[in-house]
C-alpha cells in the first residue's frame, strides 16, 4: 500500500544552497525561495528514504521484539501450553482407568487432555495481540508511528505480519511439545494415548495452534478498534471467550443454531477430536472462525484510516 506510484519521488530532496545570513531575509529573497522545489534531481550518493511495505514490517518487527513484555508473554504461552498439558496428563493417569466412553478411534480425550493448556494460553496470546494493537495508543507512540507511515493501513498489515511471525513458531512448538510430553506422561501412567497418525490428531493439534493465533489477531484488531489495552482485553475476554459459554448456558436451546457461529464455538469445531453435535463441522467451523478474524481486521482497518489519531 505504501508503494504508491510516486508522482514525484524526488520532490523532497532539493536543497536550496543559496547563502543565507542570520538576519531576516528580504522579501525578494524569500519569494525566490518560495517557489515549490518540486522538480530537482535527487542528489547522488544519498540513500533513498523511500517507504516500502517490507520496511514498515521491519519497523513493526523491531517494535515487537524490543519490548520485554513480548518475550515474557511468549514464554508464558509456551510454558502454559506444555506445562498445563503435562499436569493434566499426569492427573489423568491417576484418576482415569479405562478408555473414555465417548471416544473415537484412539481415545479423543487423551488429545484434549494434553492440549488442556491451550485454554489458558489463548488468553495470553489474546492479551499479547491486544498489546500489539492498543499499546501505542496509551503511550502516544501511535502519533510517531502514523507520522512515519501516514498512509496508515501498512501499519496494520505490518503489525499482523510481525505478530504472526512471533507467535506462530511459539504456539507450534508449544502444541507439538505438549502433544509429545503429554502422551509420554499418559503412556508412562498406563492411560490410553493417541498417536500422530490417528485420524483427526493432526487436525486438532494444528487447529489448536491456529485457534490461538486467530484469537491473538482478533485481540490485535480489538486493540486498534478500542485504542485501550484494558478495554480491548475486557472485550476479548468477555465477548469472545466468556460470552459463548455464558450464552450457551443461559439462553434456550433454540439459540444454539446461532451460538455455534460465535468465534470460540466455531473454533471448537476444529479443535476437538469429536465436535459436539450442536457444533459446526470442522471445515465450516474453520471458515467461520477465519471470517471472524477478517471482519475484526477489516473493522480495525476502517477505524485506523478514518479516525483522527
Amino acid at each position: 500500500m505504501t508503494a504508491r506510484v510516486p508522482d514525484n519521488p524526488t520532490s523532497t530532496t532539493t536543497r536550496d544552497k543559496a547563502d543565507l545570513t542570520m538576519t531576516a531575509p528580504s522579501p525578494d529573497r524569500t519569494t525566490a525561495r518560495s517557489a515549490p522545489s518540486a522538480a530537482g534531481p535527487r542528489p547522488s550518493g544519498k540513500p533513498a528514504y523511500r517507504i516500502t511495505v517490507a520496511r514498515v514490517i521491519r519497523s513493526e518487527w523491531i517494535k515487537l521484539r524490543t519490548l520485554r513484555s513480548t518475550w515474557v508473554m511468549l514464554a508464558a504461552v509456551l510454558l502454559t501450553i506444555i506445562g498445563l498439558g503435562a499436569i493434566a496428563a499426569a492427573s489423568t493417569t491417576g484418576a482415569v482407568e479405562g478408555p473414555d466412553d465417548g471416544g473415537g478411534p484412539g481415545g479423543g480425550d487423551a488429545l484434549s487432555t494434553v492440549l488442556a493448556g491451550a485454554g489458558l494460553a489463548v488468553v495470553l496470546v489474546g492479551v499479547l495481540g491486544v498489546l500489539v494493537g492498543a499499546r501505542e495508543y496509551s503511550s502516544g507512540m501511535i502519533r510517531s508511528s502514523l507520522s512515519a507511515v501516514p498512509a496508515r493501513l501498512p501499519v496494520l498489515w505490518a503489525k499482523v505480519v510481525a505478530f504472526v511471525l512471533a507467535v506462530v513458531p511459539v504456539v507450534l512448538v508449544g502444541v507439538f511439545a505438549a502433544f509429545a510430553v503429554g502422551m509420554a506422561v499418559l503412556d508412562a501412567g498406563g492411560a490410553p494415548t493417541v498417536s500422530w497418525s490417528d485420524e483427526g490428531t493432526a487436525r486438532v493439534v494444528l487447529g489448536t495452534a491456529g485457534y490461538l493465533v486467530g484469537i491473538g489477531l482478533i485481540g490485535l484488531a480489538l486493540g486498534l478498534l478500542l485504542r485501550s489495552t484494558a478495554g480491548a482485553i475486557s472485550a476479548l475476554l468477555a465477548g469472545v471467550l466468556v460470552l459463548p459459554t455464558l450464552a450457551g448456558a443461559l439462553l434456550p436451546e433454540s439459540w444454539d443454531g446461532l451460538l455455534k457461529y460465535l468465534p470460540s464455538n466455531a473454533a471448537s469445531a476444529f479443535t476437538s477430536t469429536v465436535p459436539p453435535e450442536s457444533m459446526l463441522g470442522a471445515g465450516t467451523g474453520a471458515a467461520v472462525f477465519i471470517a471472524w478474524i477478517v471482519v475484526a481486521l477489516a473493522g480495525a482497518a476502517v477505524t485506523l484510516t478514518r479516525r483522527d489519531a
Binding site: K17, S34, K63
Partner: protein, 312 residues
C-alpha cells in the same frame, strides 16, 4: 514548503482551527506563535495527516502528506516528547521509526550523539526527563534528513545549554535550505530564532509577518537618557509635546524628542550623557497586545482557582 488553504478543524461546537491560510517557506525559520489553546498543535497534527481537516486543505511539498512516498524524509516532526513507548530504549525507538524508510543503526547512533543521548541510548525512554525526551523527539525528527523540520514547543523542558543548541541547530537547518516550522507560546523564544512569524489566536490567523517587520512595528519613540545632570536636561527638554518621566535622579525617559536631538541639545549645553538609548516595547508586550483579544485561558490573580473562561 507547507501550504495551508482555509484549513479548519471543528470538534463538535468548538472551532480549534478557523480558516487558516498561510505558507511555510523553505530556507527560513518560521515561528508559529499563539497563546495556549490557539490551535497550533491541532494545525501541526493536520499537516502530518494525524487529524483530518473539517474543511480546507494542507499540502506538504505540493501533495497531501498521506500520499508521501518518503514520509520521514519529507517532514521530521516533534509533536510532543511523550509520543514514545516508555518500555522501549531510546535507540530502539529510533531504529523502529527509522526502519520505515530504511534508516539504519549507523545513522541512529550518529543522531543519538548529535542530541547528546549516547550515554542513555539503552535506557527505557520512560525513564527520561522532559528535556531528554525533547532531545529524543528532536533526534526522531531528524532521522531521515527531512526537507521540512516541524517542532511543537521544542525548547520545552530543555536546559539553557539545550535551548542554545536547539536555536543554533534550527538556524543551521534553515540555512541549508530546509523548511523550519516551530511553535511556541513564548515571544522571547521566537525573537531569537525565527525569521518569519505566523501569529494565531483562537484558531484564527492574526499576523503573517516577517520578524523584521514585527520588530519595527514594536518601536516606540521613547528614549532613555542617563546623565548626572538629568534634572538640568529635563528642564531644557520641557515643551508641551514632550513627556519626560524620571525613575531616578540620573535617569530620564523622554517621549516626543528623537535621540539625536537630545544628544545635540546636551552637547550644546555641555551636559555629560552616560546613556542615550531609543527604546522599543518588548516583543513579548507587542505579542500580548496582538493576542489579548484571543487569549482563551486567563489566569485569575484574585486568589481563586484558575479558570478557563470559554473552555468547556
Amino acid at each position: 514548503m507547507i501550504q495551508l488553504q482555509n484549513l479548519t478543524k471543528r470538534y463538535g461546537d468548538v472551532v480549534a482551527v478557523d480558516d487558516l491560510t498561510f505558507d511555510v517557506r523553505p530556507g527560513i525559520v518560521t515561528g508559529f506563535l499563539g497563546p495556549n489553546g490557539a490551535g497550533k498543535s491541532t494545525t501541526m497534527r493536520m499537516i502530518l495527516g494525524l487529524d483530518r481537516p473539517t474543511s480546507g486543505s494542507v499540502t506538504v511539498n505540493g501533495h497531501t502528506y498521506r500520499a508521501s512516498t518518503a514520509p520521514l524524509h519529507e517532514i521530521g516532526a516533534l509533536l510532543d516528547g511523550k509520543a514514545v513507548d516508555k518500555g522501549r530504549s531510546a535507540r530502539n525507538h529510533l531504529l523502529a521509526l527509522g526502519a520505515t524508510v530504511g534508516v539504519g543503526a549507523r545513522r541512529v547512533d550518529e543522531l543519538l550523539d548529535t542530541v547528546g543521548l549516547t550515554e542513555v541510548a539503552h535506557k527505557p525512554a520512560g525513564s527520561f526527563s522532559l528535556g531528554m525526551g525533547q532531545r529524543l523527539g528532536i533526534a526522531s525528527a531528524l532521522l531521515a534528513d527531512p526537507s521540512i523540520v516541524m517542532l511543537d514547543e521544542p525548547v520545552n523542558g530543555l536546559d539553557p545549554d539545550g535551548i542554545l543548541w536547539v536555536r543554533s541547530f534550527l538556524r543551521s537547518l534553515a540555512a541549508e535550505g530546509r523548511t523550519v516550522f516551530l511553535s511556541s507560546h513564548l515571544m522571547s523564544e521566537m525573537e531569537l530564532t525565527a525569521d518569519h512569524l505566523i501569529v494565531v489566536g483562537r484558531g484564527r490567523l492574526i499576523r503573517d509577518v516577517s520578524m523584521a517587520e514585527f520588530i519595527d512595528s514594536a518601536w516606540t519613540d521613547k528614549v532613555r537618557v542617563v546623565s548626572p545632570e538629568a534634572t538640568a536636561l529635563a528642564g531644557l527638554l520641557a515643551a508641551p509635546e514632550v513627556t519626560v518621566t524620571s525613575s531616578s535622579p540620573t535617569e530620564l525617559e523622554v517621549e516626543g524628542v528623537p535621540s539625536a536631538e537630545i544628544g545635540e541639545l546636551a552637547a550644546r549645553h555641555g551636559l555629560p550623557l552616560h546613556e542615550l538609548v531609543p527604546l522599543h516595547a518588548s516583543l513579548e508586550e507587542a505579542f500580548m497586545e496582538l493576542t489579548k483579544e484571543s487569549v482563551q485561558y486567563h489566569g485569575r490573580t484574585d486568589g481563586a482557582l484558575l479558570t478557563a473562561e470559554t473552555a468547556r
